[in-house]
């Protein structure tokens, strides 16, 4: 299994580890609930160095990212971030990712850890515009600081910027505790926060600069366990759970990230065809109406009829009941409709709600 540059730090903090996408990552340091609630109340510190980063630059970079991306990269100006998808020719989702525009013909792509090799191959295969494509994942560490106190903790350590002025989905290049850092006002928790990209050799220094301030603010280091419940409460999908190569964006309610007008991209024709034909599946959010916990793979019923499957599910630490996503056959399903979820052979009541759950 691969390890991030912060593996020893996690070990010293006595983290419990888990395998995720080929990486040995911290699952939790204290408890998932405690870490989750710390992010909602104060702040959490995350090692996300398993994520993949590609640099795309030089002549042809603009064309290459536009061609791969379902969302319109042409809308980006320097210092902005775009959430987008790569789709294959059949309209299936290759990955969901962030695109950072440093400058004209200069981008950073941030992809899911389990998809680094697949995505790199995908980008390289379609690079016929002569752009320079570089996988910088190994040399790049990613530390996230998320929660209502994130700005207060980060600001005193930053050289130039007032980070409170960096708005959502924008980024700045600056120094944090003397370390050259890309500060991105993004996250996967539903809270205010930053994702900090640094050279892998500086990962420990940055973590050690932030950690005391996080603890001082009654925050927590946060593992992948709470990262999953935080993203679920925030209504954010996870590639590999909620979608895969056979899922089209419309089936998981990501159609708003497909911008077809006046542009070409891989998968466009298939997606237009699918949309015209009518989408056979749809993603819903649900909350349990008893104390049971619905998890991925559990069957979903409506009026006794099997209509689909849970794709992500967990007990919500903030709400104290089970929540999740399910993909069901398209029908007139609306908010507050009752469904049943089969858990170990027994039906448990749930109702449809609109994500985000909090």
């Amino acid at each position: 299994m691969k390890r991030t540059p912060l593996y020893q730090v996690h070990k010293i903090l006595n983290a419990k580890f888990t395998e995720f996408g080929g990486w040995e990552m911290p699952l939790q340091y204290s408890s998932i609930v405690k870490e989750h609630l710390a992010v909602r109340a104060t702040v959490g510190l995350f090692d996300l160095s398993h994520m993949g980063e590609f640099e795309i630059r030089g002549q042809g970079a603009n064309e290459l990212v536009q061609k791969l991306s379902t969302n319109d990269v042409g809308r980006l100006t320097d210092g902005r971030v775009l959430y987008t998808l790569f789709c294959n020719e059949a309209g299936g989702i290759v990955d969901d990712l962030l695109i950072y525009r440093h400058a004209n013909n200069h981008y950073m792509l941030v992809v899911n850890a389990a998809n680094i090799e697949k995505d790199l191959k995908w980008v390289e295969t379609h690079n016929d515009s002569g752009a320079e494509v570089k996988d910088v994942s190994e040399n790049t560490a990613l530390i996230a600081l998320q929660g209502p106190k994130a700005i207060d903790i980060l600001n005193p350590l930053v050289l130039e910027q007032d980070v409170s002025e960096i708005s959502f989905f924008r980024f700045a290049v600056d120094e944090v505790a003397g370390i050259p850092t890309t500060l991105s006002r993004t996250g996967y928790t539903g809270e205010i926060g930053f994702e900090l990209y640094v050279d892998a050799n500086s990962a420990e220094d940055l973590w050690n600069a932030l950690y005391p301030a996080v603890m001082e603010a009654e925050g927590q280091p946060v593992g992948l366990g709470a990262r999953d419940t935080l993203r679920l409460e925030a209504g954010l999908r996870l590639y590999g759970m909620d979608m895969n190569d056979d899922t089209n964006p419309y089936e998981v309610e990501l159609g708003k990230f497909v911008k077809s007008k006046n542009r070409k991209f891989i998968g466009k024709n298939a997606l237009l065809r699918e949309k015209k034909k009518g989408i056979a599946k749809q993603m819903i959010g649900f909350q349990m109406l008893d104390r049971a916990v619905a998890r991925a793979g559990y069957p979903v019923y409506q009026s006794g009829e099997h209509v689909g499957c849970v794709t992500s599910g967990a007990p919500s630490p903030s709400l104290k009941y089970g929540i999740g996503f399910a993909v069901v056959t398209s029908q007139t399903i609306s908010e507050d409709d009752k469904i049943d979820i089969e858990i170990r052979g027994r039906m448990h009541p749930a109702k449809i709600v609109t994500a985000p759950f909090i």
Partner: protein, 128 residues
């Protein structure tokens, strides 16, 4: 740390014998490994349990864990308070966090369980 007066399974359930009644729970080690218990599913009074077979489920935030019966017998009492307060399993695994009371059918089954020292050794082996 591990109570001497209980018997244990390798799957971390404990059994406390009082006459022909056996109380069942999970060990402190198990609750600390599972953490954040949010749901407990237990059988109804009157259910017949068979030793080493599943009788219920506990769920943490992360996953579901099966519970195995340390002995065979009829369920005569269920800790209903766990339905509303499953965190008692974390807070008090040997007392308030008990699951069931069983009237045992075959007392010799208790001899097949681990004593405290063997269970301690089992945990150490599992953790190594």
């Amino acid at each position: 740390m591990i109570p001497q007066n209980l018997k244990y399974m390798e799957s971390h359930e404990w059994a406390r014998q009082e006459g022909d009644i056996v109380t069942i729970g999970i060990s402190d080690y198990a609750q600390s490994e599972i953490q954040d218990i949010v749901y407990v599913e237990l059988p109804e009074i009157g259910t017949e349990l068979t030793q080493k077979t599943e009788f219920g489920v506990i769920e943490s935030v992360k996953a579901a864990f099966d519970l195995y019966a340390p002995v065979s017998g009829e369920v005569i009492d269920v800790n209903e308070s766990l339905l509303d307060a499953p965190e008692q399993v974390n807070e008090s695994p040997y007392d308030d966090g008990w699951f069931l009371k069983i009237r045992i059918t075959n007392p010799s089954e208790l001899d097949e369980l681990l004593d405290a020292d063997s269970y301690q050794a089992h945990i150490e082996a599992e953790h190594a």
